[in-house]
Amino acid sequence: MNLELTKETKINNKNANQDKSYKKLMSESKFAFLLLLPTIILVLGLLMYPFIYSIYLSFVNLNLTKPWIGPQFVGLKNFTDILQSTEFWSSMKVTGYFTIFSVIGSLLFGLIAALILNQHFKFRGIARSMLLIPWAISGVINGLIWQWILHPNYGVLNGALTQLGITKDYIAWLSDPFLAVNMVILADVWKSFPFVALLLLAALQSIPSELYEAAKVDGANAFSIFRRITLPLLAPITLVLLVLRTIDSFRIFDLIYVLTKGGPANATQVVGYYLYKEGFEFANFGYSAAGSYVITFFILILVFIYVKKLDQNESF
């Protein structure tokens, strides 16, 4: 702090000495304020204000079908209703299942992909570039792609499986609850493993090769090198990925909207889609807002647990 002031004073002094009409440097705070002004306006206006309004909504029942009563403050009723709703909890179950397997899937495939890409081979650059393709497309297009792949009568999955002799009949993948939810996970893993892979690859490449050399000299085999050197050094970035992927999976929406709309029999109705339906098809906005804050709270707890848990494991 002192150093800064001195430098500024130095600069100002120099200017003062050099020029009759010197430009005094703007104070840091003022400059910072100017720089941040547009951002502050946007964030206050389009994030904070809607945020506060939605908090208000979550404590209110708009009473849309009884407009003579109008909006009514109902305290915590929306929250208790949500927490007592069986449909909410079954959507949480679906979301939980989806999150667990999508996160594990993307981390696992991402790790494998990163390990493969860490090797030297021809066209490595091209292979790495291809990973960007699933990452760059939108959730909506991803839904379109997989809807087509999984098509019950003309889809390539059915075609391939029957031609390879693995299955006999064509399967209606999205008509069976169990199959549907797992296919949705597959689609999500396909889209999100590249992000994991690229980050892990960068981390792998930053591990100094001397560590590996030293281990090999000490007689360690590939497996124990992996376990004792690679994995622990990947831990920090893995934590970040774990958090990011969990948050993303919990809030999944676009894919479900295009691929299954929550069906069949609510088997793929994740909590994001459930709240969307409640809010925008039944106009239960207060209920929907309350629900989304319950989710956010839940996510925060999860993140907190992750960070705590993995921080503990750090010490060795």
Binding site: I11, K23, P50, F51, F109, Q119, A136, L144, L199, A203
Partner: protein, 285 residues
């Protein structure tokens, strides 16, 4: 000894092939479908490559219709809308984001670090909860169904991220550069524009691509805030397109390919910056 190495090579290339296959197979299949005729698409057992590949579906999407309310013209217009919105969002985010990032990286002001954390937490605000309030705000501003509304909301969502990443970039630039400029008499803004930004182009390109992709691919807000060809963006138009053509798979896939080409191409072109940006932003951040 040599044999082990050969086996290792074989396994390695096999794994590489599997990886590449898994990564682009879905994408390739969509392309194949888009150039196939309906007859080939619906033939059982599955045809792996069309007997007569053609670009009819693409030609239809890109030229059919009368420039009016028909679905093809609407599709094309939505591509244009998406492009305009994404381009402006990118520009605005880069400019204001760099400003903000510089402030956080270099300047001292009260509550600085607390505000950074606050920004991060804005990313956690659930989109569903603020959809209706956002709709009402834009309605009151008479900005419903405009590209401006989308630009504003996309920018708001993306700014915190750009600030966070560029802050990391700026922090890694040695302070002496600006100090030298300041001592030489440049204003603060001058130092920012003439010294810092030119050195940060990798970071700018990386966050720029992120911003563009984020806006191009955004669906939720676009769905709520747009309704006519004035502002409708591609993800929304695609869902209409799909709902309309439930059997013409070639046509649907062509639409999908056209929708995913810009983000994919952009990522491939700028991949070096992207990959650097991804890693610097998250590992050092």
């Amino acid at each position: 000894m040599g044999r082990r190495k050969i086996i290792y090579q074989i396994i390695k290339y096999f794994l590489v092939a599997v990886l590449i296959f898994f990564t682009i197979a879905p994408f390739l299949w969509v392309i194949i479908t888009s150039i196939s005729s309906l007859k080939d698409i619906t033939s059982i057992p599955l045809k792996w490559f069309p007997s007569e590949p053609n670009f009819n579906s693409y030609i239809k999407i890109l030229s059919a219709g009368d420039g009016g309310n028909d679905i093809f013209s609407q599709f094309r217009i939505s591509m244009y809308n998406s492009f305009v919105v994404a381009a402006v969002v990118t520009l605005v985010c880069l400019v204001f984001g760099s400003f903000g990032a510089y402030a956080f990286a270099r300047l001292n002001f009260p509550f600085r670090d607390k505000i950074v954390i606050l920004f991060l937490f804005t990313q956690l605000i659930p989109g569903i909860a603020i959809m209706l309030p956002t709709y009402i705000i834009f309605k009151n501003l008479n900005l419903l169904d405009t590209k401006v509304a989308l630009i504003l909301i996309h920018t708001t969502f993306t700014l915190p991220f750009v600030i966070w990443v560029m802050r990391g970039f700026f922090k890694s630039i040695p302070k002496d550069l600006e100090d030298a400029a300041l001592i030489d008499g440049t204003s603060r803004f001058g130092a920012l524009f003439r010294v810092i930004l030119p050195v940060s182009t990798p970071g700018l390109f990386a966050t720029g691509v992120f911003a563009f992709l984020g806006s191009w691919n955004e669906f939720g807000m676009a769905l709520i805030l747009t309704s006519s060809s004035q502002a409708k963006t591609l993800p929304v138009a695609i869902t209409e397109f799909l709902g309309r053509f439930t059997v013409d798979f070639g046509l649907m896939m062509s639409g999908g390919v056209l929708a995913l080409l810009p983000p994919v191409l952009l990522s491939l072109i700028f991949q070096r910056f992207l990959l650097d940006g991804l890693t610097t932003g998250s590992i050092k951040g």
